[in-house]
């Protein structure tokens, strides 16, 4: 393993993030506050409680997941797409590093940034609602796993994308709907039976459910099922990345 190279990529990507640190913090804090005002205060006053938790607190795990998933994908996809776009990718390809080291560097940095944003949102949430986290270790583990697996997915999108439109396509058309329909703002059990069945095909449901379990100790699906689902998703992404590595798809002529 060329750890020096991994560190170089990681540090370079993180430096880009810290150059725009103000935007990086203000934007998630602002959007989270808006969600709390709209969903927590306006709608929450009519819903009051979901599964024994106040509605304002209930949406916190979903809100964090929403940001963490979109941030992981956009950071990682942009991270690898940008060198392709401006041509600096030649340096990655001619350096004495293999593809997995490149992946660790970019995905690691993207996941770190998303984790950072997730933490900021959690801190912001404490200002709006009372939350006690029942399984803090599981909560952190879930958060990190989600950051990594979706950063892997973002990396694949970044390799695949041929232009900026394609870079936005998957997050916009697939990921955002899945996250919104994945129970960020409601419990699956609140849906009509047919939609409950359909929801179980949405992988994000398992993530949010598991994450919510770590907070409140109750969930839509059993925690082990959630863990299995995220493990499966991570394995799938790793499989695709392994295939890209083997074939040099969209990277090496």
């Amino acid at each position: 393993m060329n750890w020096t190279a991994i560190k170089a990529i990681y540090a370079f990507e993180m430096a880009r993030f810290f150059r725009t640190i103000t935007q990086s913090i203000i934007s998630p804090v602002l959007s989270t506050s808006l969600y709390f005002v709209v969903f927590g205060a306006a709608i929450g006053s009519r819903i009051e409680e979901v599964e024994g938790v106040s509605y304002g607190a209930f949406i916190v795990p979903g809100l964090i997941m929403l940001s963490v998933i979109t941030q992981s994908i956009s950071n990682a996809s942009f991270g690898i797409y940008f060198p392709k776009f401006i041509g600096t990718v030649y340096e990655l390809l001619s350096a004495p590093i293999n593809f997995f080291e490149i992946v660790i560097g970019y995905v690691g940095a993207a996941a770190t940034k998303a984790l950072f944003i997730g933490t900021i949102i959690l801190i912001t949430a404490f200002f709006f609602v009372d939350i006690t986290i029942q399984h803090p270790i599981a909560m952190v583990a879930f958060l990190i796993l989600t950051c990594i697996s979706f950063a892997l997915m973002g990396f694949i999108i970044g390799i695949w994308a041929g232009n900026f439109e394609q870079l936005q396509l998957v997050p916009l058309l697939i990921v955002t709907p899945l996250v919104f329909l994945g129970g960020s703002f409601y419990s699956i059990s609140m849906l009509p039976p047919v939609w409950q069945v359909i929801s179980h095909f949405n992988p994000v449901v398992y993530l949010i459910s598991g994450f919510r379990w770590a907070f409140f100790g109750s969930a839509d699906v059993p925690i082990l099922t959630s863990l299995a689902a995220i493990a499966l998703f991570t394995a799938l992404c790793l499989g695709v990345i392994w295939w890209i590595f083997r074939t040099g798809w969209r990277l090496r002529a």
Binding site: I9, I86, T88, Y90, I97
Partner: protein, 309 residues
Amino acid sequence: MPTIVDIQDLRKSYAGGFEALKGVNLQIEQGEILALLGSNGAGKTTLISTICGITTATSGKVTVGGHDIKDDFRAARSMIGLVPQEINLEPFEKVLNTVRFSRGLFGRPADEAVLEKILRQLSLWDKKDSQIRELSGGMKRRVLIAKALSHDPQVLFLDEPTAGVDVELRKDMWEIVAGLKASGVTIILTTHYIEEAEAIADRIGVIAKGELLLVEEKNALMARMGKKQLEVQLTEPITEVPLALQLLDVELSADGQSLIYTYDTNAERTGITKLLSKVAESGLVLQDVATRQSSLEDIFVGLLQEDAA
């Protein structure tokens, strides 16, 4: 000199069937400057990209310092620095940061003293904190060279280092290349400027349509293929070549003021003595005599025509 880069029967064909490299064999010697000369699309960049790992070869074998570029890619690539043809740099990054990144990427431990030495060598030190977008085109090329040198490579590939660069900058670049050679770096540069190859290379390779037509010492190449011309200027213009000179291969210049005799420097007899005595016999009075050697350009054009025939 020992061989540092060994290329054996290197082939590259694309999915569409286009053959960019058709079995290239080339041994690059340690410490030399090799210029690969060829027109656009001849395969120069493909050859470099394949050696550096950006493009995968269809078949063939390349070793750098004895390390196979596939099986032992870490050792092979650690020895190579690449300066690409396009100015591929992150516009918002600072000069020092981007060079530091390159060194790390090649697995070398951080060493600010080395970075300073390289930046000073390329007159970039006072620009170290500038964003790349603030630099001129020539400065950006220097940054690309600094990045390529950041890990102390033994072999440096320069892909068209002076394409689209003005004359002054080009001379500047030649000086940099000469300085690098003096520090022991082996340099392979591609160019389609013949004068560039003529000015700085030790050896010259000519590529056309994915084939290496020849590789030869620059001086030997010019001597072997070089024809010389002797120009005899006359005091009074004449209308036709005198009878005594017609048997020799002599041409009359358009203004009738001089006779031009083309001869082969490698021939046993150049025929100059005979020519001059015939000129005297014909009663012509000489004003001046001059010789000139054909340039690499003439040789190059000749080679390509031969290849096309």
